[in-house]
């Protein structure tokens, strides 16, 4: 049983509230996107992870998006950007009205993140397998300049099909990047089926361990355990990877573990049903 002191409890509640708000905005944006549809399932599987990063773990400032010591963030599985945009809204970087422009003509909020200094989007992503390498460059920069910041990279389990992920996995330990914190969103699905059906990379834990990463595996929706994990990270010269076991489409009965929601259209009917589920759940 987990025992929390009061302040811990407050922190946990804050993160949970953040996560609920992110979920609501994912739903709203998916609905706004209309027939252009959106990557709903993969955004929901990272919602709790991105919430703890933005609400708690990362060193960020509401009114300053570009201070040297800020923690860096890369959404390497860029298609999950609904969760990213919603999190950036929660910390005040993206305005409510801007969220409504998701996937609309001439919008800054495309279906994959596009670098935008004003909105606090640091990198363009979408083509899988590229973000982790950039993270290594950032983490090396921190070491070379002696400016201590952490680099957080969210990678998908499907994304681990890409060879470039393993080029990066091989490289990070060489540079002793204990400031590089990778979270693998292991929701067991990819675009057109389960990992087992399409391409299962096998035992992720052992694979990363063999490259000399510090590896942990926990429930990616358990805020208490996620917090404990992030609190426990040490400067021991090893890059860290968390394999977060998640549920694709987490939070809504119709989308959980239902891969039709990898990229799908949010109709009015489903939207209203989802809203009710959120109300009842909160």
């Amino acid at each position: 049983m987990v025992v929390c002191n009061m302040s811990d409890e407050n922190i946990i509640n804050k993160i949970k509230k953040f996560s609920l708000n992110v979920k609501k905005n994912i739903l709203n944006m998916a609905y706004e996107a209309g027939s252009s549809s959106s990557h709903f399932g993969g955004a929901l599987s990272i919602t709790d992870i991105i919430s703890i990063l933005f609400a708690y773990k990362m060193n960020l400032k509401k009114n300053n998006k570009d201070f040297e010591l800020r923690d860096r963030f890369i959404l390497s599985k860029g298609h999950a950007c609904l969760a990213y945009y919603a999190a950036l809204h929660e910390i005040g970087y993206i305005k409510k009205d801007e969220l409504k422009t998701f996937e609309k003509d001439n919008s800054s909020l495309a279906g994959h993140p596009v670098k935008n200094d004003e909105l606090g989007i640091d990198f363009s992503n979408g083509s899988l397998g590229m973000g982790l390498s950039i993270g290594i460059g950032l983490a090396i920069s921190s070491k070379l300049k002696s400016i201590p910041f952490n680099v957080n990279v969210i990678v998908g389990d499907g994304e681990c099909n890409e060879g470039s992920i393993w080029e990066a996995a091989m490289a990070a330990p060489k540079f002793k990047l204990d400031n590089l914190h990778v979270i693998i969103d292991k929701n067991n699905f990819q675009q057109t089926g389960s990992n087992d059906e399409i391409m299962n990379v096998g035992n992720l834990k052992e694979k990363w361990k063999s490259f000399n990463w510090e590896v942990e595996e926990i429930d990616g929706h358990n805020i208490i355990n996620l917090k404990k994990y992030f609190d426990s990270l040490k400067n021991n010269q090893k890059p860290k990877v968390l394999i977060a076991n998640t549920i694709k489409g987490k939070g809504f009965s119709f989308s959980e573990n239902n891969n039709e929601w990898h990229h799908s259209v949010m109709t009015k009917n489903i939207y209203e049903k989802a809203l009710k589920e959120l109300e009842n759940g909160s």
Partner: protein, 322 residues
């Protein structure tokens, strides 16, 4: 490094690869924010001394080019000046999409040096020759592409690229004892082609080491009472439209010569400009005829693809007599 006739001769003897190693070492001594990122090619890039003397500014990622561009991007984002280098096919095509997304789309700024491009590694076969890099990279927005004529120009291109706004690709051609095009110091400016020889009957546009052959051709044509101007198009992108328009207004034939596929490189770039000019002259595009062949020495392959002065001359005279 001082540009004087002694050094110019030294760099020519060493060839562009060893020279660029010396040049980068010299730049990095004074610019502590300059980082070299490579893929297990320090010897081939003339960077062994660099690797030993400035280990904190040297990052070797092993044989993994996609990761190289990604790591360079992260460093560039944190305001480091970054040079990446490996053999031209691996520097451009193996990591092409990283170049597109990180440098083109996201506009992070690095300098890439493609070693031994063109035909110089012919003995190793066409995995190592590179006749496609210009065509592949030219279609990516926000990239600058430079093809230096000799060792000195390679050094100048690197220094200019570091201070250029957009990411640059420097295509290094030619081997050791490569011919000297510039015997003394001169002004190098990205995007501004340089007239090497006056002459207006025809104009020859060349880039890279093959410019030396173009200069010889011009001399031969002179003896046949044909005045042939030679222009060094060291920057393939952005192309110098002004000098092309000017030459096409004065010349009855435009010739382009490149150690690259005829598709997608200098010839294509020049024709894209000329095609919009009213009453433009004909263009003779010389280069590699969209084919691979058996392996062989640099000399053998240049001869096979008709990129030596006597064959370039033949092709020009044939076109003039048609």
């Amino acid at each position: 490094m001082e540009v004087n006739s002694k050094n110019i001769k030294l760099w020519s003897t060493l060839g562009p690869r060893a020279s660029l190693g010396l040049g980068i070492l010299d730049l990095a001594k004074y610019q502590k924010d300059l980082i070299v990122v490579t893929c297990d090619v320090s010897t081939s890039a003339g960077l062994d001394r660099f690797r030993k003397s400035l280990p904190n500014q040297y990052i070797d990622l092993g044989i993994a080019e996609q990761n190289m561009i990604g790591v360079a991007t992260g460093l560039a984002n944190e305001k480091f000046k970054v040079i990446t280098t490996t053999f031209a096919p691996f520097q451009t095509m193996r990591c092409c999409e990283q170049i597109k997304v990180n440098l083109g789309y996201m506009q992070e700024k690095i300098t890439m040096i493609g070693l031994a491009s063109g035909l110089v590694l012919g003995n190793l076969g066409f995995t190592h020759c590179c006749i496609e890099d210009l065509g592949v990279l030219r279609s990516i927005p926000n990239l600058c592409i430079i093809s230096p004529a000799d060792s000195l120009e390679t050094l100048k291109a690197i220094e200019s690229s570091i201070h250029n706004k957009n990411s640059c690709y420097i295509r290094v051609t030619g081997g050791t004892n490569n011919p000297i095009i510039y015997k003394e110091d001169y002004k190098f400016e990205i995007g501004k082609a340089i007239r090497l020889k006056e002459g207006n009957d025809i104009t020859i546009f060349g880039s890279g080491a093959v410019l030396n052959d173009c200069m010889i051709v011009s001399e031969h044509l002179k003896s046949k009472k044909i005045s042939a101007g030679v222009i060094n198009v060291h920057t393939i992108k952005p192309i110098d439209k002004e000098i092309i328009v000017d030459a096409s207004e004065k010349s009855k034939l435009i010739v382009t010569v490149e150690e690259h596929n005829k598709i997608g490189g200098l010839g294509s770039s020049v024709s894209e400009v000329i095609s919009s000019i009213k009453n433009a002259p004909r263009q003779l595009t010389l280069g590699i005829n969209d084919s691979y062949t058996k392996s062989g020495s640099y000399k053998f392959l240049k001869n096979y693809y008709r990129l030596v002065s006597e064959k370039i001359l033949e092709d020009i005279l044939k076109m003039l007599n048609e």
